[in-house]
């Protein structure tokens, strides 16, 4: 094992897959000359050449559309979108093409394509640059949607996504690129399955069901709660579609209480999807209503103090846990 950043982990994944399979190409805005908006693709063009690592014009629809076409024609494109906010300009190709062609053409074609893009707020980037919209895409049959929270998962899931025969949206987080974590040594080939979550911390009193950057917030909240004798289990769902529901249900079976934690908006989103499924299939295991910690239901404000109030913090999770974990549980 070595310790590397989330950013390096993603870069290594692309590098290793490009070495392994010459059909893998990487396209996107400013991925070469600029080194990638978040420096993820830095050095790839020098190593693999500018045929396989291509800067594109500023045109999201054709980036994704061309990736879809190239994938249907036998390539393994990895398309980078600068941020998820701009994926909306390509959403037609994602939803109406990538997700549909295999089905509507009777299984004659498929789309082994990856779209990488960061989501998330918290850096004062304002209303149009701070969104977390995975639920929009997770709603769509025909797509896989995954959100790694650690360098290990970032590398393993991206490698799995590139090898996957179906379209995968790998959603990164703008505030995670610099975090460090353990990853297997170079040359050790590994992948992380795109349909399994992972328990990050065991606990008996409450399940924190979460993903992406909020995994780290939940870990911090769990440490705090432990000081007061409340043992929280942190469940990193990491695969939004398909969802590893068994993992969440098993955890709730043990703790009988759940808090769903996410950065995005509450209504009609990912967390409500999780909560509905837990109610539907784990109702008998619940001793208290599921709590839901989310971003405030407004566009992201710019001002520092307002932005701070708009996104969930550790204490919001602690408060939610205390609403449903009775004092007597604390031993």
């Amino acid at each position: 094992m070595r310790t590397i950043t989330y950013r390096e982990a993603l870069r290594e994944a692309m590098r290793e897959e490009m070495l392994r399979d010459e059909r893998v190409i990487v396209i996107g805005e400013d991925i070469d000359g600029y080194g990638g908006t978040y420096a993820v693709t830095k050095g790839l063009a020098d190593e693999f050449g500018r045929e396989r690592v291509r800067d594109t014009p500023l045109a999201e629809e054709v980036i994704v559309g061309a990736a879809v076409g190239a994938a249907m024609a036998g390539m393994r494109p990895v398309a980078e979108l600068m941020t998820m906010n701009f994926s909306l300009l390509a959403s037609d190709q994602i939803v109406n093409t990538a997700a549909k062609v295999r089905y509507m053409f009777g299984g004659q074609t498929h789309v082994p394509m990856v779209i990488r893009m960061p989501a998330g707020g918290g850096a004062q980037r304002g209303a149009q640059h701070s969104q977390t919209l995975e639920s929009w895409y997770a709603h769509i049959p025909g797509l896989k949607v995954v959100m790694p929270a650690t360098p290990y998962d970032a590398k393993g899931m991206l490698k799995a996504a590139i090898r996957d025969e179906d379209p995968v949206l790998l959603i990164e987080h703008e505030l995670l690129y610099g975090i460090k974590g353990e990853v297997p040594d170079e040359g050790v080939d590994f992948t992380v399955p795109l349909n399994r979550g992972e328990v990050r911390r065991e606990g008996r009193d409450v399940s924190l069901i979460t993903f992406s950057r909020c995994v780290h917030l939940c870990m911090q909240a769990a440490e705090e709660l432990a000081k007061e004798g409340i043992e929280a289990e942190v469940v990193d769902m990491r695969c939004i579609r398909p969802i590893d529901l068994d993992l969440a249900l098993d955890s709730v079976k043990k703790t009988n209480r759940a808090v769903v934690v996410e950065e995005g908006w509450k209504y009609y989103g990912t967390g409500q999807g999780f909560a509905a499924l837990i109610y539907e299939y784990g109702f008998d295991d619940l001793d208290a209503p599921i709590q839901h910690v989310t971003g405030v239901d407004v566009p992201a404000p710019y001002a520092k103090n307002l932005e701070k109030a708009a996104f969930p913090v550790r204490n919001d999770i602690i408060d939610a846990v205390k609403r449903i974990v009775p004092q007597r549980v604390a031993r």
């Binding site: 805005e29 000359g33 600029y34 014009p57 500023l58 045109a59 701009f86 004062q124 001002a303 307002l306």
Partner: protein, 342 residues
């Protein structure tokens, strides 16, 4: 007011008009330099895209507009707002995210909006402003008062589908919109040659049958002339124009960008040989305006920028109640669901 012959100093403009153009460019330059400093000090957060180097475009193009005309721009829009008449204090306060900002501190550097001066937005999704400008043009056409819309965007933005859709619609519907592409040769780190299949916008304008003019965007008088023709076409014939203003940003794409992708001598050349303010001052001196007047104007611009930063810094942060204000007109519609009162 008609200008008597003896007042004319340069390009048919009076001393007063010339000095106004000069002061406006300086205001933008000093304002932006100050903003850059404040960003470095941590007073401004998020993204900050400076307009330094491109001052002649906003100044030359917006000055001939009437107050009722609308300007719509991108995230690199402080300069456009200042020329349109926005109070430097309120623009700087927006950059600081304070309650006295033009957008109440809720928008930030990329989202300036000043209803009072008909500066109708900085948009941070590249290309989004062009279709919006078409809508404004359509409304102005319905209103029949002869008002027009001017929209600014970069050389990167014309590669988005939105540009092409807007071009076609504006020409098809004869909308009174002036489209100004500020071609600064780069879209973030991507040089024009890596982005455009053609080297000018002329064939793209031709594809939609739209009037096109290319202008030296470092020459404020040339920009002004070109803009006046386009404004006239919009106001009197309700016809759009595409202007390509050749310019250069002297700084990185945003404060976060060290801009290593541009050849050093290229940057140096533009900065030392093509600075729009220096070039204009040369002309002004040749027309007989003394250096002292020019220096005084600069001092004044520095004062305004400093005062704006001081104003912003002493302004309060928005009240926390602002977090949930302004989402929609109907406050009950703004929140998807509210727990019924027990």
């Amino acid at each position: 007011m008609a200008i008597s012959k003896s007042d004319v100093m340069l390009a048919g403009l009076s001393r007063e008009q010339l000095l106004d153009l000069h002061a406006t460019m300086l205001l933008i330059r000093r304002f932006e330099e100050k903003a850059g400093e404040e960003y470095t000090l941590g007073k401004i957060g998020g993204f900050l895209h400076l307009y330094i180097g491109q001052e002649a475009v906003a100044t030359g193009a917006i000055k001939p507009l009437r107050p009722q005309d609308v300007v719509i721009s991108s995230y690199r829009e402080h300069g456009h707002a200042l020329v349109k008449g926005s109070d430097p204090n309120a623009v700087m306060a927006e950059l600081f995210g304070r309650s006295t900002g033009v957008s109440k501190g809720k928008g930030g550097s990329m989202h300036i909006f000043d209803d009072q001066h008909n500066f109708h937005g900085g948009y941070a999704i590249v290309g989004a402003q062009m279709p919006i400008a078409c809508g404004y043009g359509l409304a102005q056409k319905f209103a029949g008062k002869g008002d027009i819309t001017m929209t600014f965007f970069g050389d990167g933005a014309v590669d988005e589908g939105a540009f092409h859709e807007a071009m076609n619609l504006a020409e098809l519907w004869s909308l009174p919109v002036v489209f100004i592409c500020e071609n600064n040769l780069y879209s973030m780190g991507n040089a024009l040659a890596k982005a455009w299949s053609v080297s000018s916008l002329e064939p793209r304008a031709a594809a939609y049958g739209m009037a096109y003019e290319r202008v030296d965007g470092m020459d404020v008088l040339a920009v002004r002339d070109t803009a006046i023709r386009a404004i006239d076409r919009a106001r009197n014939q309700s016809k759009p124009t595409l202007i390509e203003a050749m310019t250069y940003r002297f700084r990185g794409h945003s404060m976060a960008d060290p801009a290593t992708y541009r050849p050093k001598d290229e940057v140096e050349l533009w900065r030392t040989q093509r600075d729009p303010i220096v070039l204009f001052e040369q002309k002004l001196r040749e027309a007989g305006i003394d250096q002292e007047t020019l220096t005084k104007a600069d001092d004044r611009a520095i004062q305004i920028a400093d005062a704006a930063a001081a104003f912003a810094d002493s302004s309060p942060f928005p009240d926390l109640s602002e977090l949930t204000q302004d989402v929609m007109i109907d406050p009950t519609g703004a929140i998807a669901w509210r727990r019924p009162r027990k």
